[in-house]
């Protein structure tokens, strides 16, 4: 029997879909059987980030309403044998699925997979309620911004009220240089307010933009620092104790000179 984990945030655009794709792929890299579920009905993105948009025939609304069997809706990843995607519907909206249907769906998926990772939509309305209905554990993603932390706090309150105890935090898109200057929130300040366990910290990385556009999750890219952070997070999810990676960019004198002259990006 597997674990059902929901990736949520409250605020939009902080990196829930990117996180879902990357930790799902990261767990598949470690040899586990993983299914990713996109519950952002009407605004589906997980299929694009995974590079599987051309392979969608059936979606989550078909599967929960019984128009197709669940196995027919699951799309196998193009790189991994044991990684599957259950896409959202693009032509419906979030009222097309009910929380009870999500509970039943997660029960079915739990039986066949080690990890069921649910990509939650932004907001706290029906889409959010659907996504958390079948979940056992929660990951809250936030960026080091006051607005994002405020929304994350709201969501943590709602998760606790829904009996999803002990959510874990991922801080995304952090820029250590800005934190040092005091322009960006410190990790400790964020944990002070949110008061939940830290699962990982992902640095800002241009590779993410490239990877999401191409449909190749950054965990597969050895040069990507965000990818490395996500690989570490995947290992922590399996229970391994991995120290937080060093976020220093390690520029050095030549790098700084090049930046001043304007040769490097």
């Amino acid at each position: 029997m597997g674990e059902v984990i929901v990736v949520t945030s409250g605020k939009g655009g902080v990196g829930k879909t990117t996180t879902t794709a990357n930790i799902g792929t990261g767990l598949a890299l470690l040899g586990h059987k993983v299914v990713l579920v996109d519950t952002d009905i009407g605004l589906r993105n997980l299929d694009i980030v995974m590079g599987l948009e051309n392979r969608i025939v059936y979606d989550i609304v078909d599967a929960t309403s019984g128009s197709c069997r669940l196995k027919q809706a699951l799309i196998k990843d193009k790189r991994f044998e044991d990684l599957y995607l259950l896409p959202a519907a693009q032509t419906k909206d979030k009222t097309a699925v009910s929380p009870q249907q999500m509970v039943d769906l997660c029960q079915q998926l739990k039986a066949d997979f080690d990890y069921v990772i649910i990509d939650c939509p932004a907001g706290i309305e029906q889409g959010f309620k659907n996504a958390i209905a079948g979940a056992e554990k929660a990951i809250v993603v936030t960026t080091p911004e006051v607005a994002a932390v405020r929304d994350a706090d709201r969501v943590i309150g709602l998760l606790e009220a829904a009996e999803l105890r002990d959510p874990k935090l991922i801080i995304n898109r952090i820029r250590l240089s800005m934190v040092k200057k005091g322009d960006m929130m410190d990790i400790d300040d964020m944990i002070d307010i949110l008061a939940i366990g830290l699962l990982g910290v992902v640095p800002e990385d241009e590779h993410i933009v490239i990877s999401t556009n191409r449909g190749e999750p950054a965990v597969l890219d050895k040069a990507s620092r965000a990818g490395e952070a996500y690989r570490n997070i995947s290992r922590r999810i399996t229970g391994e104790d991995v120290p937080l990676m060093n976020l220093e960019t390690g520029e050095g004198l030549m790098g700084r000179l090049r930046r001043i002259i304007g040769l490097a990006r």
């Binding site: 709201r154 309150g157 307010i193």
Partner: protein, 171 residues
């Protein structure tokens, strides 16, 4: 925020305190959810320290998160933080044994003697009875001691919290 004075001088005035009519009305036939229950004997509104008294008290032993609202017709004690976006609305006093970063409204049924006490008082907005106040623009609040907010001479005043200070001298 202007640093709190030791001698009780008004120190947290932000222009003129805004007066607002409470959204819940005391008069009329509707029961006021925040009105403290009346006992048969005469109630004292003010104790020896000038603080509102004779209320029930509720103890909340967790952090109050953004979007949560605690409303009580008496005193509220929070053993935890009150995060920004959360609100505590009490007919009596509010005591936060942690960081008060949200909104607190003490004396919400009109009691001017209500106070707000916190280990670290850095609210988005503070209200006592019908007075509303906030930190001055542009200043980040970094208190390093427990503080108490009360009404004095018609203004909201914030000072260091001293447990045994008597507001009125013995004569």
């Amino acid at each position: 925020m202007i640093s709190p004075q030791q001698n009780g001088q008004p120190s947290w005035q932000v222009g003129l305190p805004e007066k607002f009519s409470p959204s819940f009305h005391l008069s009329g036939t509707q029961p006021d959810p925040l009105r403290p229950e009346r006992t048969g004997r005469e109630r004292k509104e003010q104790g020896p320290n000038g603080v509102a008294m004779d209320y029930r008290t509720v103890l909340i032993q967790r952090t109050v998160r953004s979007g949560q609202s605690i409303r009580y017709p008496g005193n509220v004690v929070v053993m935890g933080d009150v995060n920004p976006g959360a609100e505590i609305i009490a007919a009596g006093n509010i005591i936060v044994m942690g960081n008060l970063r949200g909104m607190a409204h003490a004396g919400a049924a009109g009691n001017q003697n209500a106070v707000v006490v916190a280990f670290r008082l850095k609210p988005t907005q503070l209200r006592i009875a019908e007075h509303i106040t906030r930190a001055p623009d542009g200043e980040t609040v970094k208190p390093n001691q427990p503080e108490i907010a009360r009404i004095q001479d018609g203004f909201v005043v914030i000072e260091r919290y001293q447990p045994n200070s008597l507001r009125f001298p013995a004569f």
